[in-house]
């Protein structure tokens, strides 16, 4: 199916000028309801989308129900132990077959007429069956199953039966970053109970940009920086770190930590009691992975953007943040914390405590992010100013974390998909360098 963009081809939204090293985005991208509707068709109906973590359905019969890409779905671990993703809609007349956000079930019963489906999706019960003719076969009315797959515990789904890439192909260079998350425990990672369900009255892409934007940190998050300093945390003297484009719209920033990390990076803010065990954990990582990779896993902060709407921020704690558009000017944000299953209770408490200090709707940083993206959205109301600029770092061989390379990688893939083109596997930065060399 082809959907025509409602604009002339010579009036592009993304203006990527490698000659003058300028990168601009027309603010219609954030405000136009027509663009928002096309994003659903061209991006959310086609890409692999993050759904949840395997630890959220730990046992046969475990399920979660949530919305992904605007569609209600159920992720169910069947009695056979396999994870499947179903449309949360009865095949009879369409009601949700699961209204609980999470739980344990052998079967799902539609409350409308009591049609009953097993946790593997088969239709197993139809009341008063003699109302149907001989051509009615229960096998034809199983729950609609979506194509799903998982990588290192992260479960994704795609609503495009013709999605040409396997999940691993789709994740491109992001797999390395997911490895560095899942490698943090020898027995597996788990989502901590208690989700932060909030949102913003702003376009969803603003939060994608914000989450991989380190440039704003010292300006917008002064209060968090002062709080960390009050705990004795000393920001690194040199800036360090780098931004990376990982292909197919994914990007990341890696930087030296400004504070402790509960996994295996001790600083005085954690107190002397936990020092020996955190340092023992760090030593174990060196044993498992060698000094260099261990340092990258345990001693580096990372913000990972997986196109289109997943963010994994591994810093003072790990947060998985899923952003869902609601029209052009609203979004829903679902944040959960991920941690090693075998984490010691006192370290888990430190992790949770510091997670709350920074993150979530009442943390010392996220509320200002929410307010600033809403402020941008209000600013776009003045249509005289047509473009936003995202060109920082286009002139550099190794972009810094305060540059905007991950955001450009996002926008370039966005632009390709909005033009119905998903064949490219370009790493944005290489393209930029070619442009810079021409100068």
């Amino acid at each position: 199916m082809t959907i025509e963009l409602q604009r002339p081809v010579d009036d592009p939204i993304v203006v990527d000028d490698l000659e003058s090293l300028s990168f601009r985005v027309d603010r219609r991208a954030y405000t136009d309801e027509d663009v928002a509707a096309q994003e659903m068709a061209r991006i959310f109906d086609r890409c692999w989308l993050y759904l949840g973590h395997e630890s959220e359905v730990p046992e046969p019969g475990s399920y979660v129900s949530r919305d992904v890409g605007g569609r209600p779905v159920v992720m169910s671990r069947g009695s056979d132990g396999a994870i499947r993703v179903f449309a949360n809609s009865c095949t009879h007349r369409g009601a949700l077959i699961c209204s609980q956000p999470a739980g344990q079930a052998k079967s799902f019963r539609c409350p409308y007429h009591d049609w009953t489906f097993s946790n593997q999706g088969e239709l197993v019960g139809v009341p008063i069956p003699d109302g149907y003719g001989p051509g009615f076969r229960k096998a034809d009315f199983g729950l609609a199953q979506h194509r799903s797959d998982s990588y290192r515990g992260f479960v994704f789904v795609t609503f495009d039966p013709e999605q040409p890439r396997t999940l691993t192909e789709y994740l491109a260079g992001a797999t390395e970053y997911l490895d560095m998350i899942d490698d943090q425990s020898e027995v597996g990672m788990e989502v901590i109970q208690g989700a932060q369900l909030h949102g913003a009255q702003a376009n969803w892409k603003l939060m994608m940009e914000n989450s991989v934007d380190i440039y704003h940190f010292r300006a917008l998050h002064k209060r968090y920086v002062s709080y960390m300093q009050s705990l004795g945390s000393v920001p690194p003297r040199r800036r360090g770190g780098f931004g990376a484009a990982l292909g197919l719209g994914h990007g990341a920033n890696e930087l030296p930590p400004a504070a402790a990390r509960p996994l295996a990076h001790w600083t005085p803010m954690f107190g002397p009691e936990v020092r020996p065990q955190i340092e023992a954990t760090a030593a174990r990582f060196v044993e498992r992975f060698g000094a260099e990779r261990a340092e990258r896993i345990t001693g580096t902060n990372r913000a990972l953007l997986i196109f289109p709407n997943l963010l994994i921020i591994d810093a003072i704690a790990i947060t998985i943040r899923k952003i869902d558009p609601i029209g052009a000017d609203r979004m829903a944000i679902t944040s959960v914390a991920l941690a090693p299953k075998d984490e010691a209770p006192e370290i888990r408490e430190l992790r949770k405590s510091h997670y709350l200090t920074f993150l979530g709707p009442a943390g010392f940083a996220t509320p200002d992010d929410i307010e600033i993206v809403e402020s941008c959205q209000r600013g776009y109301g003045n249509r005289t100013v047509r473009y936003s600029d995202l060109s920082r770092g286009m002139n550099k061989e190794i972009p810094e974390t305060t540059d905007e390379l991950p955001a450009r990688e996002f926008w370039r893939q966005w632009d390709r998909l909005m033009h119905g083109d998903d064949g490219h596997f370009e790493v944005a930065h290489q393209v930029e360098l070619q442009g810079a060399e021409k100068q």
């Binding site: 208690g194 909030h198 009255q201 917008l220 829903a332 009442a362 010392f364 200002d368 209000r378």
Partner: protein, 170 residues
């Protein structure tokens, strides 16, 4: 009607009145941004201020919530709110905390367990939001008044999709 019952009621009513007045004063100090006074005069040194997540509403010790402040972090929170570092509360939002259904659940000797309902309206930066929840307090008697040792606000919202953030003290 016995006179004993009247006397008992009078004691209960006076206690309930003192507790209610205390909670109303707290709401007023918070609404007037007199956060230092609130912190210094109405809380114990071992105050705990907790807002659980909206999906896991009970106080499951293993769950992550929205706020879990000890005295130090709560002090930091109000310092930030007062010194202009909190961008989303500058200019300061206008708030109105409506307290009702004040009930003394138990007298534990060392403290009273008190429940109340709250609707906190917040207006600022072009937005208007209402936070609806249930207060659970531990009030430690001090002279004719109290100090709060534990302050839990269980939000009734399913999500904070509309609010986005929780930048005020509820």
């Amino acid at each position: 009607m016995t006179s004993a019952l009247i006397v008992d009621d009078a004691v209960q009513v006076r206690l309930w009145h003192r507790v209610s007045q205390f909670l109303f004063r707290e709401a007023r100090l918070l609404d007037e941004w007199r956060l230092t006074e609130w912190y210094d005069e109405m809380l114990t040194d071992d105050i705990r201020y907790v807002v659980p997540a909206t999906d896991v509403r009970g106080e499951s010790a293993d769950a992550l919530g929205l706020i879990d402040d000890d005295a130090a972090r709560l002090h930091q929170r109000i310092e930030q709110l007062l010194n202009g570092e909190v961008w989303c509360e500058d200019p300061r939002s206008r708030t109105n905390r409506m307290i009702s259904n004040v009930e003394i659940l138990a007298d534990q000797g060392s403290h009273l367990e008190v429940a109340a309902n709250v609707v906190a309206y917040r207006f600022g930066h072009g937005r208007s939001d209402a936070y609806v929840g249930k207060y659970r307090f531990e009030l430690v008697p001090e002279g004719e008044s109290f100090r709060i040792r534990r302050r839990v606000v269980v939000l009734d919202h399913e999500t904070l999709y509309e609010h986005g953030k929780l930048s005020i003290v509820l």
